[in-house]
Subunit: 409 residues, 2 copies
Amino acid sequence: MKNVLCAKCVRCGREYPATPDTTVCECGGILDICYDYEYIRSHVSREYYARCDEIGMWRYRAFLPVEESTPAPPLRVGASPLYEAPRLASQLSISRLWIKDDGLNPTASLKDRASSLAVAKAMEAGADTIACSSTGNAASSLAGNAAAAGMRTFIFVPSRAPIGKVAQLRIFGATVISVEGSYEDAFRLSAEAIDRYGWYNRNAAINPYLMEGKKTVSFEIAEQLGWNVPDYVAVSVGDGCTIAGVWKGFQDLHAAGLIDRLPRLLSVQAAGCYPINRAARSGAPWEPMPEDTIADSIAVGVPRNPDKAIRAIQNSHGLTIEVTDDEILDAMRLLGRTCGVFGEPAGVTALAGLVKASQNALLPDNASVAVIVTGNGLKDTANGIRAAGEPIHLPPDMTLLEEALKDVM
Amino acid sequence: MKNVLCAKCVRCGREYPATPDTTVCECGGILDICYDYEYIRSHVSREYYARCDEIGMWRYRAFLPVEESTPAPPLRVGASPLYEAPRLASQLSISRLWIKDDGLNPTASLKDRASSLAVAKAMEAGADTIACSSTGNAASSLAGNAAAAGMRTFIFVPSRAPIGKVAQLRIFGATVISVEGSYEDAFRLSAEAIDRYGWYNRNAAINPYLMEGKKTVSFEIAEQLGWNVPDYVAVSVGDGCTIAGVWKGFQDLHAAGLIDRLPRLLSVQAAGCYPINRAARSGAPWEPMPEDTIADSIAVGVPRNPDKAIRAIQNSHGLTIEVTDDEILDAMRLLGRTCGVFGEPAGVTALAGLVKASQNALLPDNASVAVIVTGNGLKDTANGIRAAGEPIHLPPDMTLLEEALKDVM
């Protein structure tokens, strides 16, 4: 990999060669992939991207830690739309607002960006089987991306994972182990099984490459804005990998000279589970918390990638905000009704945080904000109905219809 | 509209000016929008599209029946991926096979193509409220596209519509009337209510513009194949609008000189409901049938757009095939496991038909086929689980896991 220098521990600074099966540092710290930005600068530019006709995250291959000969996996990941939302912006007293609908990825979540990279690295490692534990989206996305590439998957989910995500896994042919207990229980059992059976490990906390896939969402936001950067980027936070990836993406572009400033991060967690926000605010080491929220994808009481996330929030001079389940349900309705975008609870948590920030006047006047919707609401329709209510049930009778519509006309 | 000549009755041939609120002919026949292909030829070409950087269905505006000043509605419809599926092709003894994943549209079905056009025409008509009846996808897609454009929607669904689609509707802020009875009952009540309240009518059988949106899926397939055309295009058929739109799309491209031949259609219906296939095969007028299939989106016993569909199948020298619910469930698994694409039952019915055609050696040697997946499986996760089975449930215990995996390792 001519664009990669090494994998460096974020805790002790020790450097390792970046091999396909590189995991954590000997000290237990997470590794960060370091790039040769001079090399990248010599290969890409704004002009390069104006001419590039590759669609999706692999158009940013110059920034990805893969061999030049490694093919892009089959599913078309990324290229999700960025919508400007002027009516919602004015409702929130924000100067400009954009919604990045990453629920339109192939398996309906941002996690496809990480899984596409995982499949590429598994191919480099010569593996034919990949495993992971996940609250749901990483799992279904790995299963889909691996199936398209002809690889086998073993997936560990906590038993609370919503049916939409489990249905995806099974359809994609994964062997699914639904573990009674918390995310932490599922994670531990997966780690033990990966050791035992020698599968390729797609756990984002262990595998330093996955975050490098997630960062492509920032590349797209910047390019879709003509290489301009919003003042704030709002992100739902669970395990910490996504917000760390978002930050890495903007840092990469800045280092490569494609953008000329960095955004501030708006880190939004559920009020029932916010260990990363708590640590980022206090400066004290993070502590585990219970997992008490409907936003299952970010209900992570023992985050597996807290170091990079906390550092990203602090380095960006970011804001940390917690939102209740009711505020999350409100945000689902708000996003659907103003933008025609249906996000899952964790997917709209970032928007719920922005609403709260706006209500509490935490943002400066004339702030511009990009909100990342990380997952599709179709994965969790029960909470969709909970947020928006049941339809009007009627026999086919015009008189009854007129009666029922009296209040809404 | 400089590119449009008129709206012409498919039954009696009478011509009407194409106004935004044009519906059916006085004789009851459905209208077809007729174009000035000389005008279109003078505006687009393969070179034009090689340079065009608009993403999504509105890049084909030259072929769409809208005023030049009408803005494209906000949601980014179309631009869905076309995957080549070599492993599946060889499994089916087909020379080349492509999967068009239209479940990756903004509201997760091909119907977004029609709804985007409906919203544009409603804007031209000065309407602020749109209504329709639908088995689900047309409804949720109208609700989403209208919400993004700031319009209000009234939606009539049969009470059997799956929860995923109803959840979408409610999230998008639609007033939803769930009608006890069949699709026909929902359709009739919606027609009466549209008369009574004066809403803009998005019923695809009445509104001749919607099919013109759907045809963009064919434009994309052809352009994604470098303006080559597969021998067959396989389509799931319910109301008849989609297959008629698919055919119109290829005819348009042919008339405009962008492609040099036409494909044959593979019209696939459920064995429990196939009035269009029956009529296309026999040449006799179509007759109503019961609606007995899990593929809710194509369970249409009284098709509202049979004329164009039957004509399309016959004119293309197409094949008609019916598949059982079990064959549909098999196709869901097959598509997921080989391609990483999760289709809803109606969404994979076309593939189920192709499997059957292959098993019965109905296709010539060396045939190339494009299969359109019309809707996302996340809309109907219950059938996803039914197709693919439950996960392995376990407490977090390695010994129990080893025991459970004994058979699959």
